[in-house]
């Protein structure tokens, strides 16, 4: 899991893993998905982004990974501009998207091998990395099967393996545990905690607040395309004057009547 491709930046001047400044994204339909978002994620951090559906979480991720073009504002990944220096910026990012967007014509091995190739990995390195990841995600037996034959849980694991294939320094997980069973959720938690401990910066979006609480060093709330609060889980609770992260979240979305504290 050591990073051999990209030299570590000088410790004194290490740029943040992700620095977003006044990011605005307006779609041609006129919808303003992001309305001036700024945030900074330090190298090695485990950062959670929470917010209701349509808050702008995926749009922020898409702007960072080149799947959407920012209308204005800046995005820098380890100091590289995500628009003007996209080659370096994207090379540092691994994206596990919310959708199970696997190419159904390819086998598991090809899915990982081609992905590694898109990021310039050499054949020998790709071969070793494919075996390592298939083993780590208990997919070795399916190596030569086409992706369409996989169960939902296996597809989810393969998507994570694909995101990790090129050893990204910043891993973006967009709702990685949506619709997965308890064992797989815990398995994924253990895995991402391990790679975070080994130095990979992680940006996680999730609807499961206990997941964010369990995994993330820092959490930001996004709503209506704006970042409304950020901090550690206790800091957020204190800021909203409530007992925990869930109540803080309910305050944010204006549904505090749903608080579990009010359940008889």
């Amino acid at each position: 899991m050591t990073d051999v491709k990209t030299p570590a930046p000088a410790a004194a001047a290490a740029p943040p893993a992700l620095e977003i400044t006044d990011l605005v994204k307006r779609y041609p339909t006129g919808t303003e998905a992001l309305r001036g978002v700024s945030l900074s994620i330090g190298s090695g951090e485990f950062f959670g982004l929470l917010g209701p559906n349509g808050a702008g979480k995926s749009t922020l991720i898409h702007c960072t990974t080149g799947l959407a073009a920012p209308t204005s504002g800046g995005i820098r990944v380890f100091g590289h501009d995500a628009v003007d220096g996209y080659t370096e910026a994207r090379a540092a990012v691994g994206l596990a998207p919310q959708d199970l967007n696997l190419d159904q014509f390819l086998t598991l091995e090809e899915t990982l091998d081609f992905h590694g190739g898109y990021f310039g990995m050499r054949k020998q390195d790709r071969r070793e990395r494919v075996s390592e990841l298939l083993e780590a995600f208990s997919l070795s037996e399916k190596r030569h099967d086409r992706t369409r034959s996989l169960s939902g849980g296996m597809k989810r694991r393969l998507i994570l393996a694909r995101a990790l294939m090129h050893r990204p320094r910043l891993l973006i997980l967009d709702e990685p545990t949506a619709g997965v069973d308890v064992e797989l959720r815990l398995e994924l938690w253990h895995y991402v905690q391990r790679i975070n401990a080994e130095g990979t910066t992680i940006l996680l979006t999730t609807h499961y607040l206990e997941e964010a609480e369990q995994l993330c060093d820092r959490i930001a709330f996004i709503n209506g395309g704006q970042l409304v609060a950020s901090g550690t889980s206790p800091e957020l609770a204190a800021r909203f004057g409530v007992a925990g992260l869930e109540d803080a979240y309910l305050e944010l979305v204006g549904r505090k009547e749903l608080s579990r504290g009010l359940v008889a």
Partner: protein, 265 residues
């Protein structure tokens, strides 16, 4: 495929990236080769059988050639054009459907690398079908090659042009109907009415003049000249216009890929 593998040579990361993008396109059509290689070959053989053996004896000779020999150059060109087009339009649309294309789009690949890799996928499939068709037609009926210096650039340009057109339609398409509409209602009629199966000079008016405004007529004319040495068109002018049209289409596609049109939000 072996020449594309990164193990034998010391390739730069950009070269590995491009080779991988192209390998993915080739892998897709090779996995379904009954449909992507076998079916078009069978179709061409059916044309040769019907128009060569069955009808050819009734038609007699055209401009000094057996009818089937007159038809084969157009069939070879049609095989390259339709396969290049349908490969790329289908491949891109299928990947867009499940958003699998995001894997390439979020990689460090440049718009030009992506465009060229998608283009060459269909170009290679069309070329493979065309070469196999040529080999089989040569064995069956004997096909001369009079002007390779015109034939090769003409076929390459036609293949590249239709590969580009396939990319354009695939990127624009939002449903499979959009792709089949372009193929069935635009491409196929233009190909059939462009003179694959007949000589425009034998048509009554206004059909002869109408044929002359069909750009595919000139493509078939170039390829037929390359094979048979027979021409109804200004070869140099047609080659020049085809080169310009191919370059213009590439420029349009590159602009679309750079802007992220219908690929990136």
């Amino acid at each position: 495929m072996s020449a594309l593998s990164s193990g034998r040579f010391t390739l730069t990361p950009a070269q590995i990236r491009f080779a991988s993008l192209l390998r993915r396109e080739v892998a897709r059509f090779m996995k379904i080769k009954r449909q992507t290689i076998g079916a078009p070959l069978l179709e061409t053989f059916l044309y040769i059988s019907v128009f060569g053996a069955a009808l050819g004896s009734r038609v007699g000779r055209l401009h000094g050639f057996d009818y089937v020999v007159f038809v084969v150059p157009g069939l070879i060109m049609m095989a390259w054009a339709t396969n290049a087009f349908s490969n790329n339009s289908s491949s891109i649309l299928q990947q867009k459907f499940l958003r699998a294309i995001d894997d390439q789009l979020s990689s460090p690949a440049s718009p030009a690398e992506l465009l060229l890799a998608f283009t060459l996928g269909g170009f290679l499939r069309g070329g493979l079908v065309a070469v196999l068709t040529f080999a089989a037609a040569s064995a069956l009926v004997g096909v001369p090659v009079h002007h390779p210096e015109v034939l090769l650039p003409a076929l390459f340009l036609v293949g590249f042009f239709f590969a580009q057109l396939g990319v354009l339609i695939g990127v624009r398409a939002e449903q499979f109907d959009d792709v089949s509409f372009a193929q069935t209602f635009v491409l196929q009629p233009l190909l059939f009415l462009g003179g694959v199966f007949y000589s425009a000079s034998l048509l009554p008016e206004p059909f002869e003049t109408l044929t002359h405004i069909n750009p595919i007529y000139y493509m078939i004319g170039l390829v037929r000249y390359g094979f048979l040495g027979y021409s109804e068109i200004n070869v140099a002018l047609a080659l020049g216009v085809l080169t310009l049209a191919t370059a213009a289409l590439f420029a349009v596609n590159l602009k679309l890929f750079r802007s992220g049109y219908k690929l990136r939000a």
